[in-house]
């Protein structure tokens, strides 16, 4: 249920970035979520919908971009996607590897409806 705290943080970041008069135009909030971040997509979407319900951002939904767990071997420099959570280099068997991606939890961007052209 930490998704609620995470959804609240996303909400605050969007509110701080998007000018108040455009908040009602936000349709999508793109969030990058690493496979190892322990965040449940459905839960995050649900929590965000609850938080925005009575706010100017109520038209906005979360769009999640799942980031794969990628590692690099420090011995042979082989870069690979970690499957089945085996943190060993599939090329040389070394355990001396570093995580390149997979723990991300970032607000990437928001998409807004273009303001209708004012008729003069």
């Amino acid at each position: 249920m930490h998704e609620l705290a995470i959804a609240q943080s996303i909400f605050e970041i969007v509110r701080s970035v998007v000018p108040a008069e455009q908040a009602g135009d936000v349709r999508a909030v793109r969030v990058r979520v690493g496979r190892l971040s322990g965040v449940v997509a459905d839960s995050l979407e649900f929590c965000f919908s609850v938080i925005v319900a009575d706010t100017p951002l109520r038209g906005a939904g979360i769009v999640i971009e799942a980031v794969p767990t990628v590692s690099e071997c420090k011995d042979c420099f082989h870069r690979f996607t970690v499957e089945d959570l085996a943190f060993l280099c599939p090329s040389c068997g070394s355990a001396n590897i570093v995580l390149v991606s997979g723990t991300e939890l970032q607000v990437a961007e928001v998409e807004l409806l273009d303001n209708p052209v004012e008729v003069t």
Binding site: M1, H2, A5, I6, S9, I10, E12, I13, V14, V17, V18, R27, V31, L36, S37, G38, V39, L85, A86, F87, L88, A95, L99, T103, L105, Q106, V107, A108, E109, V110, E111, L112, L113, D114
Partner: protein, 217 residues
């Protein structure tokens, strides 16, 4: 559609406070542990055994995190160490702000080791940096030897694994070698200890290592 690029970490506020906590403790030479586990793995019992062993030679302070009650703080207070209980009222994890507030309520003068006992939960606390020097994950043999594979985020983030309740192994289907193998598959750098708070097996090895870390801080 128009787009506004944001590119900000979701938990940037928490991370910033965690950075402040870490800087404060490093400046004062306090070694900080964030102890995590599922409920009932034995975090508080290990802390009690640790205080019995190190309480005389090391100045320890404790922050307890629980969903409800101050039972754990009462248990720890028997060892005459400064302790603050954080009650999260349903919250499933501690956040850096709660720890910062707790630290402000404590007299940390002379403290060499600050133990933060997180809420019993192997999922949520993994995301929230508290400002610790390292995470210690405790798991008990009764939880099954496949646990590290089920909760990889936490085992990946931890520096130390304490396998507790090893006295119960003869009565269980779980196998210590398999458990170790599974944990090291997720995180080959894990430092592993095997303990029993009932027989006190492994406690002195853990305490000796811990004391060494505190001296380096």
């Amino acid at each position: 559609m128009s787009v506004i690029t944001i590119e900000r970490k979701v938990l940037e506020k928490n991370d910033e406070i965690a950075r402040q906590n870490r800087a404060l403790c490093q400046q004062r030479g306090i070694f900080v542990l964030n102890v995590v586990s599922s409920p009932g793995a034995g975090k508080t019992s290990i802390l009690e055994r640790t205080l019995e062993e190190l309480g005389e030679s090391l100045k320890v302070s404790v922050i307890e995190g629980d969903v409800q009650t101050d039972f754990d703080a009462q248990r720890v207070a028997r060892y005459k160490v400064p302790v603050v209980q954080i009650v999260t009222n349903g919250g499933c994890h501690l956040e850096a702000r709660l720890v910062q507030d707790a630290m402000a309520r404590m007299n940390l003068e002379g403290t060499q080791l600050l133990v933060i006992e997180n809420v019993g939960n192997l999922v949520c606390p993994a995301n929230f940096d508290l400002g610790e020097a390292m995470k210690v994950v405790v798991m008990s043999t009764t939880e099954g030897d496949d646990k590290p594979l089920k909760y990889p985020g936490m085992f990946r983030n931890a520096s130390v694994l304490i396998i507790n309740k090893i006295d119960l192994v003869p009565y269980l289907n779980s196998d210590l070698a398999t458990l170790r193998r599974n944990a090291l598959q997720i995180n080959p750098a894990l430092k592993v200890f095997e303990t029993s708070c009932t027989t006190k097996a492994g406690i002195s090895e853990w305490c000796a290592w811990l004391k060494e870390q505190c001296m380096k801080a």
